[in-house]
Assembly symmetry: C2
Homo-oligomer: 442 residues x 2
């Protein structure tokens, strides 16, 4: 009976994990979610499939090419390629039912059918927060957003990190004052690359844009302003740029770093970086990037900024907002590869109950006692020998084993083995959970 079997496989560009890595991934996911919720962000879960008309309201270029789009019945459908467009649609659709400022988080998969390459995924988690105001939105939120980033990366403990921030009004005002408004897009794209290509190449690229050398000097000295955060603010204000926008941006930057300090962000964890532009036609105020100091080559692990109007394609109401995104799938894959994170256990249970030829009732009572005390527990029901059962516990990295043989049943006890220390101890069947908790504290 030679049957044709189909080779089990997934598509390239899709991440799927073995249990130990999935546990690790979920731990990071849950940490991010916990911090988002601790700041009052509300959960949102939009459909993966939406009308192409909705998702492509704004898009063009790359997005159109990458989007997964198809027909079903009479509908022209697509899979969401980010969480911002669905948020805009949601807020426009439900603005009458939401309370503003509306703070939402969404941590879901998005889809981009790009050519697969190292570190690029076609299906990946974005972990987004946004705060949407009705007509206006306090500048304090520009300080709260980095406070969220700070709390997340402190808890995740991937080592020292730096939140870099800038203000688009400073950039735009500066270039307007230099009479380079018509070239802003190209200039910003160029200076945004300074980390990757260096100052010399940036200068060369600016020359190609036919900017005269006097102005290039000014640009280069502007983006290389150094010193502490306060020094940079002072230097900006002392530049004498004749632009209201520039002055407003510098003022906002000063206030925002004041708020950041008030939020308890240590000075060492953030820096004004005048080269950051992020997205070209979207952000209008504060912008952020976050780098892991020891792994700067990973690029920004958390970016975002402030925008003037979230919902312009769907409604006339002006809804300014601010938000950030963590591309968790990519980040996880990079951290794993760099050895910064490592799976600890292939199990979520703290204890494995192993019955050795005894009746199930006693065994299940022991397991129930442990579980009811809030300790995740599993029972090995297979008919294998002791050795195979201990190997199973070891392989999964389960910290406690509860052995039940005839002696234990007769004396109303179990033998509790601590797999880390190797120590065994006889424990009354009703006290197992307490004993595990005691040993955990030691």
């Amino acid at each position: 009976m030679a049957e044709n079997k189909i080779k089990p496989r997934i598509l390239t560009g899709f991440m799927e994990l073995l249990p130990a890595d999935q546990i690790l991934f979920n731990k990071i996911y849950d940490t991010i979610r916990g911090v988002y919720e601790s700041f009052g962000f509300l959960p949102l879960d939009t459909p993966v499939i939406e009308l192409s008309e909705i998702l492509l309201a704004k898009a063009g270029g790359e997005t159109e090419k990458q989007i997964y789009r198809f027909n079903k019945g009479d509908n022209d459908l697509a899979l969401r390629f980010d969480l911002t467009v669905p948020l805009a649609r949601y807020v426009a659709q439900h603005s009458g039912e939401l309370t503003f400022p509306f703070k939402r988080y969404q941590m879901s998969k998005v889809y981009r059918g790009e050519r697969p390459q190292k570190g690029r995924f076609r299906e990946f988690y974005q972990c987004d927060i946004d705060i949407i105001g009705n007509e206006e939105l306090s500048l304090v939120y520009d300080g709260e957003i980095p406070a969220v980033i700070y709390n997340i990366f402190r808890r995740l403990d991937f080592g020292k990190f730096t939140i870099r921030l800038n203000n688009r009004k400073v950039l735009n005002g500066f270039f307007e004052a230099l009479d380079l408004s018509d070239k802003i897009t190209d200039i910003l794209r160029t200076i945004d690359k300074i980390d990757k290509i260096g100052a010399k190449n940036v200068t060369e690229e600016l020359e190609k844009l036919e900017i005269d050398s006097g102005k290039i000097d000014k640009i280069m000295s502007f983006i290389s302003i150094t010193g502490t955060n306060n020094d940079k603010i002072k230097a900006l204000k002392a530049m004498g740029i004749d632009s209201e926008k520039f002055a407003e941006g510098a003022d906002e930057l000063e206030k925002v770093i004041g708020y950041m300090r008030a939020f308890g962000i240590e000075e060492d964890y953030f820096e004004i970086d005048l080269t950051i532009a992020r997205g070209l036609d979207y952000y209008t105020g504060t912008v952020y990037e976050t780098v892991l100091d020891d792994y700067r080559n990973l690029g920004s692990v958390c970016s975002g900024g402030r925008y003037d109007n979230l919902t312009e394609y769907y409604t006339n109401t002006k809804l300014p907002g601010i938000g950030i995104s963590i591309g968790l799938t990519r980040l996880f894959s990079q951290l794993k590869e760099a050895g910064i994170i490592e799976a600890e256990s292939a199990s979520l249970v703290k204890a494995l109950v192993i019955p050795m030829g005894v009746d199930m009732e006693y065994t299940l009572r022991a397991a129930g006692n442990i579980r009811n005390a809030g300790i995740p527990v599993d029972v090995y029901y297979g008919e294998k020998g002791m050795k195979a059962k201990m190997k199973y516990a070891n392989k999964l990295g389960i910290p406690y084993v509860v052995i039940i043989g005839e002696d234990e049943v007769n004396s109303n006890t179990v033998t509790l083995k601590n797999m880390n220390t190797g120590q065994q101890k006889s424990v009354a069947v009703d006290n197992i959970a307490d004993e595990i908790k005691t040993q955990e504290r030691m």
Copy 2:
């Protein structure tokens, strides 16, 4: 400037919730996840998009019609329509890297492009657990699965429920002994409907299948065996059916209800129901359904059973398993509509800090103190008056408000208002979290 705006909307058959309902949904989701994890089930997260060849390996009929299928580049792709096929593919693909018995949960969205109708969704969450053995799988797991169901629905507290169970060997053996093997599929489909159409209609449908009236009588008396669970087992064994399969099934049923008792499931919460068949060509042993006693019209809220071979389309290794599924999107929508569940709050924070024209540093220190003590907190930064700010807290159902005016700043205190009792109290800025915790305990 009359711009064309796109009407913000989603597709019919897709569920999207406002924040208060989303919070409620997540609470249920997290409860189910917590119980799954407490029994040692491991998380799995497979891609939403897979090759059509993989997803349709077994399918036919309805599935082919409903599946979302499309091409991207050279690939014939589809969206998963359940979590079982991806599990089969995953286990076949990674069998060498998994530890068996492999217990996994997956709580993710699946897609079925069916004609939208009341209570039917095109995108919905399935919350699945399965236990997969390598070549064999202990019968104790047939008792563990309902123990998981029991723990979930006790915690969810939707009122009294009943786990109904049966064994396919009993059914198949019975019909084989009656020499009705060739009609088993039709007969099972008919008796599966007895709850909906009643005994009289079942009899009539069986007549249409050209079964002689003597056999119909036997079938009808078989499926109407009554009494306690023990009575039913006794009655089955006393029927004198000449079938090894039947005897094996009855024996398994007896053992499984023994395990269920040992797992601590109260007798009142489960019953043997000989009419349950579930899926026609898939299940081979124990099968389950779960009904909410006060809302039987909702149908089964959690179903599943044991199958012989999960991965037959992908590998020759025999991998028997057992599993259940909760269709959470449908269940949530039904429970909401029936008024069994209701959103409690449109916020996740316990406290809202309201500054009244005072400096941000003091305000943010107060909020930080609360958040660092593990209490989710938000700050209202807007420039509105006191009344508007209190209204905001009320609307979101936030239980504590922390008011900070000049007096408070000068005395290093805040005014803590309990929104449930209406009581206000002056509290030192460093003691707010403790005071909230104390009031929570009262």
